[in-house]
């Protein structure tokens, strides 16, 4: 057993408790708190990278309190780490590190609670990634959620945070209880909580009602967390109001953790029983593409910078789900690299928005038009990251998207490339429009919309406007993350390495054997085809095409009033306002209704189609 495995979860918990216990002493010593949190997050990142490298040759299993399984039955809880879970956890820890460095100068108030909550959030995320036990997964899911609710409401002096946190908490709690019901149902059949053991017990039987119901209920909670349409409504409300460092984590990694959970649950518990049928692919592909398109459309019409980025996360979550839904190693590998690249880039974008808020005191695109010109470095970083969001080569997003498209094309779905390009163009175009308008003053300011102005003004007035310089602790993490988004995609051998990891993640019998009998399963290199590791002409065309399309769209959006073809006063998408308001109503009752509808429809579809 690798003694490092519990460290990423236990170390932040212990530190959080120590900081809280020393609260009366540390309360006025902000720098000590900051330094401790940054150091712990950085150590956790390093440990996870080590684990990721060590597990490249085979998964590592750690049995808490030393209760190893006997005769194929687990009596304790295990951490089962492979390169993909460890890598995702490392991304989470890296973003926490960046967020804590950013916070160095971001908050004025003192107190231990912010640091404590960030650390428990980190522990929840790492535990969620590494655990091999389905109930333990629920526990870390809840720790992550509770920390996130509290962070959302961190500034209760304003009206928005409390409302956003309530919608977030109620939606996610409903989802979590559906998940727990699913766990109880599958336990009633298998008498096991270890995911490998459940998978083994279910394998070899035809998928009956119980299997389908348990699967749908368990992933319902994860779909809420990963903001898949129609489970996504809470996300924009929470992002609008949460402090920027928390947004970095929500968008950069928490949503993706939900998707990881779906993949984990599928590939270690239900996959063999459901038999990887085409209907599973079709169902989740539909959900994913619907999410991608809806998210992209909402993203483009937004004028509130944080909401705009939040909806772009919804769109990307749909694209990741598409990659996972293909059920191929290449699709999963593509989703993994896409998630890594997106997490880094989105974090950089949020940090830039945080800097704008810190210096200029607003996140309203209309008001900010041209006012960001003095933030030259921030503008450059923002533009660079925006291009990454449009999947431009050589960003990691470009690599990941290329693999998903290649895998889809190999399975007779080449049209998926078109959907991907459209979403990249819309999302990238929206963010580049912000870059051009806010930081370079290009074109005309977008029309002021009273409701959106009111939303955006919630953020104003938090900081005093006398801040003349951007602190290095804010801009450096943003720049480093944006550059890391390129670096990840350019790592040598990243293609074979990630695809080998994906092959292993999807090999359920091997996972079962590793966890339950400590077997070491080697994977012959021949299992993954070497072809997609290289960048093909199609990839380049699609990547450059979407980046170019995004740029053109951004310019059109900035200059459309000056185009001769359009009549005066035409507002693109003006007629959509009312229906959109009806959906994104801000009333949690509606959100829960949609969760119920979504779960019922998903369940019904799978119930009728799985044989």
């Amino acid at each position: 057993m690798d003694p490092l495995l519990p460290v990423p979860t236990v170390l932040p918990l212990l530190t959080a408790a120590v900081l809280a216990a020393l609260g009366p002493v540390l309360r006025s010593r902000r720098r000590v708190l900051d330094a401790a949190a940054i150091a712990v997050a950085a150590v956790v990142t390093a440990v996870l990278v080590v684990i990721m490298v060590r597990t490249a040759g085979g998964d590592q299993v750690y049995w808490f309190a030393g209760f190893r399984p006997a005769h194929g039955a687990a009596i304790g809880i295990d951490f089962a780490a492979g390169p993909l879970p460890a890598g995702l956890a490392a991304l989470a820890a890296l973003l926490v590190t960046a967020a804590m460095i950013f916070s160095w100068r971001y908050f004025d108030e003192t107190g231990t609670y912010y640091h404590v909550l960030m650390l428990t959030f980190l522990a929840g995320m790492t535990g969620f990634c590494l655990t091999g036990d389905i109930f333990d997964l629920f526990i870390w899911f809840e720790l992550m959620s509770v920390s996130a609710y509290a962070l959302t409401a961190y500034r209760p002096e304003e009206r928005g945070p409390v409302q956003g946190a309530l919608n977030f908490a109620i939606s996610n709690s409903v989802g979590a209880y559906l998940s727990l019901s699913g766990i109880a149902i599958v336990y009633g059949r298998t008498g096991a909580l270890n995911m490998a053991q459940i998978g083994q017990a279910l394998a070899g039987h035809r998928p009956d009602g119980l299997v389908v119901v348990a699967f749908v209920l368990i992933i319902a909670g994860l779909l809420v967390k990963s903001a898949v349409v129609p489970f996504h409504f809470w996300l924009a409300d929470a992002h609008t109001v949460a402090p920027t460092p928390a947004c970095v984590l929500f968008s950069g990694v928490m949503v993706e953790l939900g998707l990881y959970g779906i993949a984990r649950v599928y590939w270690s518990m239900f996959g063999q029983s459901l038999g990887h049928q085409a209907t599973v692919t079709r169902t989740f592909l539909t959900l994913g593409l619907l999410t991608a398109v809806v998210g992209a459309m909402f993203c483009f019409r937004e004028r509130h910078l944080k909401r705009l980025l939040a909806f772009s996360t919804v769109s990307h979550a749909g694209l990741f789900l598409t990659g996972i839904a293909l059920l191929t190693p290449l699709g999963l590998a593509g989703a993994a690299v896409y998630v890594a690249g997106h997490g880094l880039i989105k974090a950089a974008l949020f940090l830039c928005v945080g800097i704008v808020l810190h210096r200029l005191g607003s996140v309203n695109e209309t008001w900010l038009h041209g006012r960001g010109r003095l933030l030259r470095v921030t503008g450059a970083v923002f533009t660079l990251a925006a291009l990454g969001l449009a999947d431009m080569p050589p960003f990691a997003t470009f690599r990941g998207k290329g693999w998903i498209e290649a895998s889809a094309a190999a399975h007779g779905m080449p049209w998926i490339t078109a959907v991907f390009v459209i979403c990249s163009v819309l999302v990238g175009g929206a963010v580049l429009r912000v870059a051009g308008g806010v930081f370079y003053g290009l074109g005309d300011p977008p029309s002021e919309e009273p409701q959106m102005a009111a939303e955006a003004s919630e953020e104003t007035g938090k900081t005093d406007h006398a801040r003349r310089r951007t602190p290095a602790t804010m801009i450096v993490p943003a720049a480093v993350l944006a550059v890391a988004g390129i670096a990840i995609g350019s790592l040598p051998h990243i293609g074979p390495a990630v695809q080998a990891a994906a092959v292993r993640f999807q090999d359920q019998p091997a996972y079962n054997a590793t966890v339950l009998s400590g077997a070491h399963v080697a994977h012959p290199a021949a299992l993954f085809a070497p072809e997609p590791a290289a960048i093909t002409v199609t990839d380049l065309a699609s990547g450059l095409g979407s980046a170019a399309g995004a740029l053109i769209l951004a310019f059109l959006a900035l200059y459309w009033r000056r185009l001769p073809l359009l009549r005066r006063g035409f507002e693109p998408g003006a007629g959509l306002e009312q229906p959109i308001r009806r959906f994104q109503s801000g009333v949690v009752n509606d959100y829960v209704t949609w969760i119920v509808i979504g779960a019922a429809c998903l369940g019904g579809t799978l119930a009728l189609s799985i044989r």
Partner: protein
């Protein structure tokens, strides 16, 4: 007996959700969330029950006496704590929401209307 516990579980779940969806008072809504979660305790304990078995305590009975499943009971205990924690946090949000908005009707708590 047979299927009755599971019917009750489904009923409690759906009734709780109905309460959340139709609620016009945040505190009422939070209580309905408690009801939704209570369905999970009943479900957990029902799947671990064994007719005629004793509770899993072996201070007065020999170890081989048939007993009900202790694991679901441990899970339910954990679940109760999670419920208490989440509910308390939600109530704190509700207090703040009332302070900021002057109302607890979810329909009027819409920040967008500013």
């Amino acid at each position: 007996m047979g299927f009755l516990p599971f019917l009750v579980v489904a009923w409690v779940l759906v009734v709780g959700l109905y309460g959340i969806v139709t609620s016009r008072h945040l505190v009422h809504q939070i209580v309905c969330l408690i009801v939704v979660q209570s369905s999970t305790y009943v479900l957990l304990l029902a799947v671990g029950y064994r007719t005629g078995a004793v509770a899993p305590y072996f201070s007065d009975v020999p170890v081989h006496t048939p007993a009900v499943d202790p694991v679901v009971q441990a899970l339910s205990l954990t679940d109760v704590v999670v419920e208490a924690a989440v509910t308390a946090l939600l109530l704190a949000f509700a207090v703040q929401a009332h302070k900021r908005f002057g109302t607890l009707d979810p329909h009027e708590l819409v920040q967008i209307k500013g």
